[in-house]
Symmetry: C2
Subunit: 316 residues, 2 copies
């Protein structure tokens, strides 16, 4: 996620950031992206591709954390998108129209209101690989389904759980895009177990300090690490329990696709690690609260103090 | 508001509570109401009327503060409503269906989903005086308009300001019923200046301690005292500024009706105080935060640190 402060808008910044991440987690493969910004040119795209950067992420102006330098209008970026199409890079989109775009756009309608722009981009750049990130609505699922195979969407573990009632009164459930209606959650659950390679997990996990959550104006973001995979299984179980899904809908193959296979295929990342995960039911209780090693920063995880599936890593 | 802990379900409790309030504010006329509860019988209604109690308020189960003893179904109360109709008492309704009533009912649809129940009550008890309290939706305004003259609705000063985006991320703007869409706010603003005696101000001001707002699960309620009247004027000004209202829509007569005349008329309270208020523009800044006299309790008011109209009381 390139929405740091300052945003990651240069190849050098992205590579420095990857180096920092790699030092923390040497065994993880990080796919880097730039922040779509007026300083990015077709040349930047070419350089980025050459340096192994995977994508560019677009944050419409003012819709989420550190989006104050985000996109006001896409037209100025058409040459960048052309270059991305040519270089086979991925355009990652936070798909919401900003509130300023019209007085009737609210946090509830901002994603659906963005879909015509999204579809227009797909029609203008039909070979550009686009991911509609952390989509939250039945309308978004339908729009993504109407596109060609080079357009996909990610779904977070928390959006598989939540509706508007969950974040009404709970800052730890508040994120952008916000969770919407039961009908939207149903569409997300159905997409997650559809087996369709267009849909895969994208956690969008954001560890905001608890002090910025228990506040007069609180930050948007939900922290689902390190239980993101377990949470997906919990959400599907809840989907079965509430009659939205049938138990038969959830197969090992579909889970493997949603959790890793579809994403790998879309990003063109091969699986050469010979690892698998084993899921064990109700193995672990999510912490009520987490603290940084030095004790100064507290973060409250999603579904604090609830049981979740235990995930065990195995070499194969 | 009888939703104290424990709720006010007896005449004796209501009279004690009135005495306490009267000691704090000897010059205010308090109109008392009971909490609709299985212990209330047609005899309670008769006693209440005799003791000068004005109404009975219904809180559907689980929709707001201290509503855990609220109504599950209205049918058991039909004899109570018959007695209220006979005694000319007012049924004050918090008009939301509880979430348990159906999985597709959310905080956004709970009021609209309640309207068929509301209209059914009006048709069963056509002379029962009913107030749909703190209504928040265009659908509610329409429903109240479709009823006879003994059905009215109150509108709060904060709902004249807010939409869903205002409480998304701000616990001090979160109340039940929640603020909804721009189209709903438009309908409320139009009703407030319609001059229609069915609509009048009901502040529903709730001073929750700030610690219960800056919290992992925060309380519902917005604190608009002591600026409720100034806030109404601010909201109408904002309505004019954003093109929802025309300046000509807001006359002194309509304001007088919305702020006091319509409510007085509906409650049958005569105006024998010979007082008036004079409104002065931008006279006062709302506090960032308020503290109880002993300093132990902090409350954050609505539109903290914003300018509002100054209200001056005058004897006539």
């Amino acid at each position: 996620m390139p929405n740091l402060a300052p945003p990651i808008t240069t190849v050098r910044h992205a590579l420095n950031y990857r180096r920092q991440l790699q030092e923390l987690e040497p065994d993880v493969t990080f796919l880097m992206s730039l922040y779509l910004h007026p300083s990015i040119t077709p040349e930047t795209v070419k350089d980025a591709k050459g340096a192994g950067i995977t994508g560019i992420k677009s944050y419409p102006h003012g819709v989420t954390t550190h989006s104050d330098q985000g996109v006001m209008s896409y037209e100025e970026f058409y040459p960048v998108f052309e270059a991305m199409e040519r270089e086979n890079m991925i355009l990652n989109i936070h798909g919401e129209l900003p509130p300023s775009a019209g007085e009737d756009i609210t946090v509830l309608s901002a994603e659906e209101a963005f879909l015509p722009t999204f579809l227009d981009l797909h029609h203008r750049f039909p070979k550009l690989r686009i991911i509609l990130e952390h989509c939250t609505s039945a309308a978004a699922i339908k729009a993504v389904n109407s596109c060609g195979p080079n357009v996909a969407a990610t779904i977070t573990s928390h959006h598989l759980f939540m509706i508007v009632d969950d974040w009404a009164g709970d800052p730890h459930c508040f994120c952008k895009p916000v969770a919407k209606l039961p009908s939207d959650r149903r569409a997300l659950l159905e997409a997650a177990v559809s087996g369709d390679p267009k849909f895969f997990l994208g956690t969008d996990s954001a560890p905001h300090p608890a002090v910025s959550k228990r506040a007069d104006k609180y930050a948007a973001g939900v922290f689902t690490q390190p239980h993101a995979v377990g949470l997906v299984i919990d959400a599907l179980e809840q989907g079965i329990y509430t009659g939205v899904l049938k138990a038969d809908d959830v197969t090992k193959e579909k889970l493997e696709g949603f959790l890793s296979g579809h994403g790998r295929a879309f990003y063109g990342v091969t699986d050469d690690r010979h690892e698998k995960i084993v899921l064990k039911r109700s193995g672990v209780r999510i912490a009520k609260s987490l603290r940084s090693d030095d004790g100064t920063v507290e973060v409250v995880p999603f579904r604090r103090d609830k049981l979740t599936w235990h995930v065990e890593w195995q070499r194969t």
